[in-house]
């Protein structure tokens, strides 16, 4: 068996609960943490967003701004090794850090039309269309769990540490249970 077959996601048994909140698991998303001085941003193989809480996306790469010198690079189809390779090659002799953090966070995505209403029960940031929408990302809290949120293609992916993944699903599920399954 290959390593891929032997992998297990902490949410793989929660599809019913995810469906109840109009969510889905994004299994085994490749994630790479990049630290580099933003002055060297032009060396990157793709645009590094420099404005706080913004993201850049193309067909198979996403770059989320996490801090003034930190980005999270996601690869929807490819491997983390490929991302690590392209970043280390690009930054070469410049002081930088590239770390594979693919298993460090689980990815799930909320796809319901009312996902912003759902999140507003557990997330303190402004998710109104004036402040939030495609191209935005944020590090924030869902209840008591740290998460990264972003907005893309009519869905809101949530990246959460695997140890908190069940908690986040339980939390969203409970909001839905109390407020009713309208729109789910």
């Amino acid at each position: 068996m290959t390593a891929e077959v032997l992998a297990r996601s902490p949410l793989q048994d929660r599809s019913d609960d995810l469906a109840a909140v109009a969510g889905e698991l994004v299994p085994f998303l490749a994630q790479v943490d990049l630290r580099v001085d933003p002055a060297h941003a032009e060396l990157a193989p793709y645009p590094l967003p420099l404005e706080a809480n913004t993201a850049w996306h193309d067909r198979d790469r996403s770059v989320l701004w996490l801090g003034p010198d930190e980005w999270l690079v996601l690869s929807s189809g490819g491997s983390a090794q490929a991302v690590v390779h392209e970043l280390t090659t690009a930054f070469g002799g410049t002081h930088h850090s590239v770390v594979d953090v693919s298993a460090n966070r689980v990815a799930l995505a909320l796809t319901g039309d009312d996902r912003v209403d759902l999140l507003s029960h557990v997330c303190p940031i402004d998710l109104d269309p004036r402040a939030w929408g495609p191209g935005r990302c944020a590090q924030t809290m869902l209840g008591r769990a740290q998460v990264i949120l972003f907005e893309r293609n009519g869905s809101t992916p949530i990246l959460v540490r695997p140890s908190f993944a069940d908690y986040v699903v339980d939390l969203l599920r409970e909001v839905r249970r109390v407020t009713g399954d309208v729109g789910a």
Binding site: A7, D128, G143, L171, V178
Partner: protein, 853 residues
């Protein structure tokens, strides 16, 4: 009283929607839009409850949150132990009964209404949708750049004039905090919502509360605030009584008289303080039947009446404003305090809440009488004018002290009806000027709310606090693990088989590690990648020993100190590449250590080229230990040569295990040959299963604690408490003073940290090999006699029953302990001292012969 529903009028009720409800066991009907109070008045229910101390009958007194009189317990549809009837929205199936001013929580309370929290961000929040509030909302809507406007009111429904303005009915504001943060309570049908609103601007249009005048029997059902009489007619189409006496100090009662008259009531008398008349007493048994009046010359007159509408003037509703620091000034015309225009610039107070449009009034607080013992000031606390005067007579001069002596203002209405009265009675009794002392302070929540709403969905074992689990958690559950909480983590404490208890399982797991092979889930260890050309230099400054000369492929154990020189955390540093380390921390130290790394890098050494990245959950860690450990790893399959010769102690190798990529570390926390398998968290469950299938016995944190203690290995936080230096632990060997500066270095040469009598880590054994000391046991130097123990010398930090040693043992911090090895100490037993002996803390395999297998 003879309250009844009027054939028409009532702009807040929907007469097409009838609602059935139960009160005190009797069935009634009301309409959608009624409160329980309006529905009870419509059904002619005079007495809602009894007063809490004196047992006097009480009825509906007001039409809002200022209600001090009519309290109920609600059982259906949701349980609420006590709530004013004026704040209960009528719903089908409502079942309530009267409650004397104090709620009772049954032993097995029924479910409260569910609550959720919700966040909202708006440009303008308008609190109150009266005339001033709706005008402010309209004004804000017209202004450029203010697209998001939210108007809230406790009304069951209302509409904003502009379609773009969002409204929240059945909602009260609980508190206003810094920078426009406002907390609201929305009473929904199926659930309540606690709103956290961040507003650019807040408009307070909370209106004003009418205040009463005290007279004899002023608590009798039928005595109500005058404005409330009109509101029940206007809003609910309910006429509370047929013959009304209005007792007033101001002009606001003229409109009340008109409203009552047009609804068909008779105004029996308008008793105007400004004309020298006052109400001396209300008469009746369970409700008003007559009113005794006193004229300017002392003449008395009794008139038949079934309601008394009282107006002693109006107070701006400033509870929310006061709590955010809005200043007040005394307004002579209104005889009350009004906002003085100060306060946060984002806060605007409009309309009656600012004192605008309120009627001028005479200052008149109570009708003089020889007997003031039924002149009620605070109905819910059953406190009268006499009680206030008694408090002043007793020496209290401050309104705040009178409040604490009488509890006036501490009930559910928070002094809305009693506050001004009490303050002015105190001022008057002390010969002080009108308004010399204002009402007592207000603080959020300015309206009570159920705890269940505050709790929201954060209830129960799953949501009260997150439960963090490792990638192998499911396997642990299947193996019947008993878990312990380590911070938010659930870690297997032990894995009982069949009927085993803790001691049995612990002994079996320890024997497995020492004699065959066993596996521990160590995934919760904190892990940080430290990357950059200066990574080694940086780690040299964070740890007490040198990390910069660890070879790539090697591992070194390190201690981290606070700048006070005390042990802060420990772990190992694996050098992954010339410019890359992976350091581990204790489970609880993961976040604090990363915070500390970032703090020192950003504030002290910004010139160091180092980046730190948390990878705690990237890696699942399985410690396979015991003489048979290499056999287990070979069985699951690996391409790494595990022989001690090619894979020495304190090195790591990269390869595969059980078909997945892995870093294997030759480190040991038990003293036995061990391989720590670091695999992607995605593969943790698979490798754990493989290790157990290969015959490793799963063991938990309890066995891990015991095994490491046999070796004298410390646990930071168990054997240390923030007052322990490396030397205190006998770990002076790990401090390298020659390598340059490191955090805590200077503190290690302070006179106090070099004292020879500091508490030092030693082993302690009991003479009775079966006696287990409690962790925390205090030790004394001499056995002492009678009730006088010898001087204290230290305490036990860890204590276990070792199957390997065949006896109990303990670790302890003892004053000058290393010099006392072999000596006696004692602890105080139940009847006599228990003799102990101090020994070396390493009790097992002192020569480290077992770690290579």
């Amino acid at each position: 009283m003879s309250g009844r529903r009027l054939p028409e009028s009532g702009n807040r009720i929907d007469r097409s929607r009838s609602i059935r409800f139960t009160f005190d066991g009797n069935g009634y009907e009301g309409f959608e839009g009624d409160t329980l109070a309006s529905a009870l008045l419509a059904n002619g229910v005079d007495v809602v409850c009894r007063s809490p101390i004196l047992g006097r009958p009480r009825g509906v007194y007001s039409a809002g949150i200022e209600e001090p009189s009519a309290f109920v317990e609600v059982r259906e549809p949701w349980f609420e132990p006590i709530v004013p009837a004026t704040m209960v929205n009528l719903v089908d199936g409502l079942d309530a009964s009267g409650r004397p001013g104090v709620g009772v929580l049954p032993a097995d309370p029924p479910s409260p209404k569910p609550g959720v929290h919700r966040h909202a961000h708006v440009d303008v929040l308008v609190i109150g949708h009266g005339r001033a509030g709706s005008e402010s909302a309209a004004e804000a809507f017209g202004a450029p750049g203010s697209q998001r406007i939210l108007v809230v009111d406790r009304l069951p429904w209302f509409e904003a004039r502009e379609s773009g303005v969002r409204t929240l009915p059945r909602t009260t504001a609980l508190g206003i905090y810094d920078d426009g943060f406002v907390v609201l309570h929305e009473r929904g049908t199926a659930y309540d919502t606690l709103w956290h609103v961040r507003a650019g601007r807040v408009v307070l249009a909370t209106g004003a509360h009418e205040r009463p005048i005290a007279f004899a029997n002023d608590d009798l059902p039928g005595v109500m605030l005058a404005g409330a009489l009109a509101r029940y007619v206007r809003d609910h189409g309910v006429l509370p009584g047929e013959r009304a006496v209005l007792f007033t100090t101001n002009d606001s009662t003229a409109a009340v008289a008109d409203t009552l008259t047009s609804a068909g009531a008779v105004i029996a008398a308008v008793v105007d303080v400004r004309e020298g008349w006052s109400v001396a007493a209300a008469e009746g048994t369970t409700s008003v039947s007559a009113v005794r009046l006193v004229g300017p010359g002392g003449e008395t007159r009794t008139v038949a009446a079934d309601v008394v509408g009282v107006s002693g003037g109006w107070n701006p509703a400033i509870q929310l404003a006061r709590a955010i620091g809005v200043g007040l000034r005394f307004d002579e015309e209104l005889a009350t305090y009004v906002p003085d225009g100060t306060g946060p610039e984002w806060l605007m107070i409009v309309g009656e809440a600012a004192g605008d449009g309120l009627p001028a009034t005479d200052a008149f607080w109570y009708s003089p009488a020889d007997d003031l013992s039924t002149h009620f000031v605070d109905l819910q606390r059953d406190q009268t004018v006499q009680d206030v005067l008694d408090a002043v007579e007793g020496g209290l001069r401050s309104v705040e002290h009178v409040k604490r002596a009488t509890y006036i203002g501490t009930a559910i209405d928070q002094g809305r009806t009693s506050g001004t009265l009490t303050a002015e009675i105190v001022n008057d009794a002390l010969g002080m000027a009108l308004g010399a002392q204002g009402p007592t302070s207000a603080r959020p929540p300015v309206v009570p709310l159920p705890f269940s709403v505050l709790a929201g969905i954060e209830r129960g074992p799953a949501l009260l606090d997150p439960v963090r689990t490792t990638p192998m958690h499911g396997a642990h559950v299947e193996h019947g693990a008993v878990f312990e909480n380590v911070g938010q983590w659930k870690r297997p404490r032990y894995f009982p088989r069949d009927e085993e208890d803790l001691d049995d399982a612990l002994a079996r797991e320890c024997v497995a590690v020492r004699t065959t092979a066993a596996a521990l889930d160590a995934s919760t260890l904190g892990k940080i990648e430290v990357v950059g050309p200066d990574a080694g230099v940086f780690l040299d400054r964070m740890y007490t020993n040198r990390m910069s000369n660890v070879a790539v492929g090697s591992i070194r154990y390190g201690l981290m100190l606070g700048f006070d020189g005390m042990v802060f955390d420990d772990g190992v540093a694996m050098r992954l590449a010339e410019d890359r380390y992976l350091v581990t921390t204790t489970t609880g130290g993961a976040a604090p250590v990363l915070d500390r790394f970032e703090e020192w890098l950003q504030t002290e050494w910004p010139e160091l080229r180092v980046y730190c990245t948390s990878v705690t959950e990237q890696w699942a860690v399985i410690a396979v230990g015991g003489p048979g450990a290499s056999g287990i790893v070979r069985t699951i399959g690996t391409d790494v040569d595990l022989s001690a010769a090619s894979f020495p102690w304190m090195t790591w190798r990269e390869g595969t295990v059980a078909g997945v990529p892995c870093r294997i570390c030759r480190v040991s926390f038990t003293g036995e040959l061990s391989f720590e398998l670091h695999v992607s968290a995605w593969h943790g469950h698979h490798v754990w299963d493989a290790v157990l299938d290969a015959g490793a016995v799963p063991y938990g944190t309890e066995a891990m604690h015991l095994l490491r203690a046999e070796k004298g290995y410390i646990i930071v936080g168990q054997d240390t408490d923030g007052t322990v230096t490396p030397d205190d632990l006998g770990m002076g060997w790990i401090v390298n003073p020659s390598k340059g500066d490191f955090v805590g270095k200077r503190s290690l040469v302070r006179p106090d940290t070099m004292r020879p009598d500091r508490k030092q880590l030693v082993g302690v054994i009991t003479d009775d090999a079966g006696l287990l000391l409690a962790e925390g046991t205090q030790l004394v130097a001499e056995s002492g006699t009678g009730a006088t123990p010898g001087p204290g010398v230290g305490h036990v930090t860890s204590s276990y029953r070792s199957p390997t040693l065949g006896r109990t043992f303990a670790l302890a911090l003892v004053s000058g302990g290393r010099e006392l090895i072999g000596e006696r100490v004692f602890t105080l037993g139940r009847t006599e001292p228990i003799p102990l002996r101090i020994v070396d803390p390493v009790l097992y395999d002192r020569e480290d012969e077992r770690r290579d297998g």
